[in-house]
């Protein structure tokens, strides 16, 4: 029209032309497809597990009779292994991140090598951490590799790079002015880190760490390698006790011949999903609640 000569602002809405609508349509369709599969998966799993949502799941051990089988050993195994994993990975990961972010001289070649390696480690397939742990346990002379401490070690190695990277991210988000202000008051660098930088970064660290731990809960591959695919009818009662975990128990039941085992597997899957979703929910909650506006 005569846009250049008069100052009319009427016209066909540009957001409503054909191309924009097609484009938006494709976006919505993609979202819909992704969502649809998620829903189908959830609904079918939930229905497959029908009839098994009861206390047997929590109280009974695995059993050759499907009707009597429960996931008690696997649930406790998952919780135990993941707690030990968190105890190993989180302090080490945070300490490593603090060193790299706050103290390391980045111009030194060895710090650059470490940095690059951590980035790469985060992308290493999980199974390799299983192999590494297997090697370590062999060197230590452990005959039975399927022990809690071994599984935790594998999972801790697996999530360590993620913990380091997210902690560094959170530390980096703390404005330099806060460190400057603290140092200018005569605080030491250690005081500045422990009393200013780390506390200010805790929401970010917590979010990243919870997500990392929830990854460990869902992981099966490295534990399979350590031989966690076993029939266990007792509670894991020590760092050297044998164990199985929920993902592995699910795997073992789904590959079993009897159809009823698939039912228990589905019910356990729903439980695992519920745990993962609530952990992610907590992470999102922390992120939103404590989101800092500097």
């Amino acid at each position: 029209m005569s846009v250049a000569t008069n100052w009319s602002i009427e016209g066909k809405n540009h957001e409503k032309n054909f191309k924009s609508i097609i484009f938006l349509g494709v976006l919505w369709l993609s979202l819909f497809v992704a969502f649809l599969f998620l829903i189908i998966l959830l609904v079918t799993t939930a229905m497959n597990g029908w009839g098994r949502y009861d206390m047997r799941l929590f109280t009974s051990y695995n059993n050759t009779t499907p009707a009597d089988a429960g996931a008690r050993a696997a649930i406790l195994g998952s919780l135990f292994v993941v707690s030990v994993t968190a105890l190993m990975a989180i302090p080490v990961g945070i300490a490593a991140a603090v060193y790299l972010e706050e103290f390391a001289d980045r111009s030194k070649w060895y710090n650059k090598v470490i940095e690059l390696n951590i980035q790469n480690l985060a992308a290493v397939p999980a199974i390799l951490y299983g192999m590494l742990t297997l090697g370590i346990l062999t060197i230590l002379g452990l005959k039975n590799k399927n022990v809690v401490i071994g599984g935790s070690l594998a999972l801790a190695l697996l999530i360590l790079p993620v913990v380091i990277l997210t902690t560094r991210e959170a530390l980096r988000a703390v404005p330099q002015e806060i460190r400057d202000g603290s140092l200018a008051l005569g605080a030491t660098e250690v005081q500045t880190v422990t009393k200013q930088t780390l506390p200010a970064a805790i929401p970010g660290i917590a979010t990243g760490t919870i997500l990392a731990v929830s990854r460990a809960i869902g992981e099966a591959a490295p534990l399979l390698l350590l031989g966690a695919l076993v029939f266990i009818t007792y509670d894991p009662n020590g760092l050297l006790a044998g164990f199985t975990t929920m993902p592995i128990q699910i795997f073992s039941w789904t590959s079993a011949a009897q159809e009823e085992f698939k039912q228990v597997a589905a019910a356990t899957s729903m439980l695992l999903l519920a745990i993962l979703l609530s952990m992610n929910g907590v992470a999102i909650f922390i992120r939103n609640k404590f989101a800092k506006r500097w």
């Binding site: 001289d105 202000g181 200018a184 008051l185 005569g186 605080a187 030491t188 800092k292």
Partner: protein
């Protein structure tokens, strides 16, 4: 010195004849040179900072005012590439001497930054932080007294006394800057450095801070960097004019053109470059 030229300068705490003359130097810079890596940023600065005076650093951007200021409390040490030669004498001690602990220096020479930088903590903890980390062993009521004292000194007490447990971020920019000043004086420093403390503030907040400086200089020595000529003229006793030059190798570096009583710098400077800068013909 006479009082005719005093219109520009302040007349509050020293009164009359010695204003702007150094009675007792507290810091003496002798041929100070600062390098950032290979870059020789600031060359051969020699000047005195008078005790209980306000010293202003003025000059065009990039001439090294902040660099020199950061040398005075050794915060330049925190820049990995920074290196200093020459000396600074502080109350008879070589500030860069081998046995000097930079952390001790920073406890005696406080600093306020251009952008207010409160800690993400309560107003109370913002003030109490310095005394805590510098090892002042205070009990609860002593800490409370100190917080009140520092906030009162900074002219902020009446505005925040009912919300000490609120975040320092909940204050306005001008209040935040006064909080930062209160935070700095809570550790009872000897000298207070301020790098463009009013650069992000409106005129009313600026004038509050200027009044505060004039108040503080009764107890402390103040060194301020400012781009605001009126501010330098209003508050300072002595003014150092820095400028940048290009050397034979084509490197730009900062140097001190002249330093004198503020009234002299603003009415009758010795160097024509100072006059050009002040009257706006330069930079």
């Amino acid at each position: 010195m006479t009082s005719e030229s005093q219109g520009l300068s302040r007349g509050m705490h020293l009164g009359g004849s010695t204003r702007g003359e150094i009675v007792q130097p507290i810091m003496e810079l002798r041929n100070l040179n600062v390098y950032y890596g290979d870059f020789h940023a600031v060359r051969d600065i020699s000047l005195d900072v008078g005790a209980n005076q306000i010293t202003a650093f003025i000059g065009p951007s990039g001439c090294g005012k902040s660099t020199v200021l950061r040398c005075l409390n050794r915060t330049n040490d925190l820049v990995p590439s920074a290196r200093v030669t020459g000396g600074i004498d502080y109350r008879g001690h070589d500030l860069y001497g081998p046995s000097v602990d930079p952390i001790e220096v920073r406890r005696r020479v406080g600093m306020v930054f251009q952008k207010p930088n409160p800690f993400p903590k309560s107003i109370f903890d913002n003030i109490a932080y310095g005394p805590r980390v510098t090892g002042m062993k205070l009990n609860k009521s002593e800490t409370e007294d100190l917080v009140e004292h520092a906030l009162s000194k900074a002219g902020l007490w009446s505005e925040v006394k009912d919300k000490l447990d609120q975040s320092g971020f909940a204050l306005s920019g001008g209040q935040q800057q006064r909080l930062c000043i209160a935070r700095a004086i809570a550790t009872s420093p000897d000298i207070l450095l301020m790098d463009e403390p009013c650069a992000s503030l409106d005129p009313i907040a600026t004038s509050l801070i200027e009044d505060l400086m004039l108040e503080l200089v009764n107890d402390y020595t103040v060194v301020i960097v400012t781009h605001n000529m009126q501010q330098a003229a209003r508050v300072s006793d002595r003014t150092a004019f820095f400028s940048a030059k290009i050397d034979d190798a084509g490197q730009r570096f900062g140097h001190l053109v002249e330093m004198d009583q503020t009234s002299k710098i603003f009415t009758n400077p010795s160097d024509s470059r100072t006059e050009d800068y002040i009257s706006g013909r330069f930079g």
